[in-house]
Amino acid sequence: MDVLDGISSGFLIALTLKNVLYCFMGALIGTLIGVLPGIGPLATIAMLMPFTYHVDPVSSMIMLAGIFYGAQYGGSTTSILLNLPGEASSVITCLDGHQLAKKGKAGVALSIAAVGSLVAGTIGTLTIVLLAPVLVNFAEKFGPAEYCGLMTLGLVVAVVLANGSILKAIAMVFLGVLFGLAGTDSATNAPRYTFGIFEMSDGIDFVPIAMGLFGIAEIISNLEQRTHAHGVTPISSLWPSREEIRRSIGPVLRGTAIGSFLGVLPGGGPTLAAFSSYAIEKRISKWPEQFGKGAIEGVAGPESANNAAAQTAFVPMLALGIPSNAIMALMIGAMMLQGIQPGPDVMAKRPDLFWGIIASMWVGNLMLVVINLPLVGLWVKLLSVPYRFLFPAILAFCCIGAFSLQSSTFHLLMLAGFGFLGYVFIKLGCEPAPFLLGLVLGPQLEEYFRRAMHISRGDPAVFVDRPISLALFTLTAVLLIFAALPSIARARNETFQEAA
């Protein structure tokens, strides 16, 4: 079926009243879920699965998809307002987004995030439509060696994006990797750092760590400063200025490009895209010192990147039947229940499903902006509530959210522990973002490295023999050199100055 035919029929399907309604429901539920810290789209979609049997496959998939990317939007809201990342990909938004909120510019951050995501969604949909075969080809070429290259690149990115001491950032990355290793080694079933506790055998869940290091630690730190105990953050501007919009255009476009490609890779996705976008924007910005203090580029780029990635994450599932993440796997289950076997022939056998979902993603993005932009005023008002009323609410939502994952008291205790650790990090000037990236990427890097070596039967040449892998490792090396250059140059200058 011709691509243009496909997408136009897709829009016809997506724009029927019934599907618009399902799309809206999904987007709304997703936003609410994303805003509530801890409860994620996975549990929500699982809960709604039975509901989908009674609905035709196209409509139910449209709704489930809406929940997925709706949660991304909602997650940005809590990241910016409360420094609470719901998922790994929202962590980056916290960095500058929350700083903007602290300066009274929450509205600016929220609206740029929403519009940037819409642009990313639009371009992302176009990318899928025009480039789906290219993207699929790209995904197929990625084996363990390439993933290794990507993860290594990601870890170097984590260091580059640090706003403080490079040495400490590197140490934080490694510390994050260490924490990520806790659990059962998937290759040998050997328990690592589980201390005999059964709840540890699947590792420490991301949500209590992120909520503790960011949310709880932030509360402690704010209370310490006492300014928030009585004062109210004055709102300086609700909507972005022309200058801020202008500064955001480049990051949005670049972020979309990064996200579109990284999102296609199963297991890669929004997190890596968001972090990479941030690092790139920081590198090429004329005012890098603003990053970490409220640079609008640090919100525009990553938000677009993670939304673009969320769109293209559907490509492997729709085109190959390979789920990019656990949520896609659930959606595949939902499709199977409706009698549709996901796989390469879905595009040919059920073009209505394929194109209908893709078209509805754009519709959903539009709806999300329509839902979220008017809410900006409401959210900002919420922030102006005196802190002594606000922080117990944040605490309560964090606690219940952390518990809700697995109905687990253990997770709550983890939340407390990481809250304490996060406070220690703040005091010692150690940044949590590199830690989190290490936590997420490190274990994956180990897994892919071992697998690559196993498949090649111990031959390390596999990393340079395969072209994409070679390219990624070279890029990593280049990035490392570029990152180190300024420090080397500075050290050289200092030695010269002292010698003079």
């Binding site: 040495l167 402690i220 002594r388 117990p392 005091k427 111990g458």
Partner: protein, 151 residues
Amino acid sequence: MSKAVLTSKDFWSGLLFMGMGAAALVFGSDLRVGTAARMGPGFVPHAIGWILIVLGAAIAVKGFARDAEQVVRLHLRPVSLIVLSVVAFALLLQPAGLVPAMVAMIAISAAAAGPVRARETVGIAVFLIVLCVLIFKVMLEMSFPVIAGVW
């Protein structure tokens, strides 16, 4: 050696990293290491342990520099009370229910925010408890008791 070392951020961060690295080695001592080509479960943990010790030492040494950044404003009250409030919530939620857990959490955390205004705190508690019960118990049907034995 100036006394400022003992309050420099780098010194203590360095110690933190070294401590974590050492813990990694100690608690991972029974893991098989293997080779780089055939990594066992212990290869990466051991490697990271050593890396953290080395990096930690380097960072700690930087803390001896004259212009090392100092740790600022360490107040014990907010951190201990907030952490305690979360722990109290954790320990009370399943045995006693949401209401006692939230009461404890709000009461303890209120003390962390400065002088406690009793009426305000009670008001916040009531509002939040009702809100949370509505959202999490009624709408989302989570599996914790609101008050143990009653609901």
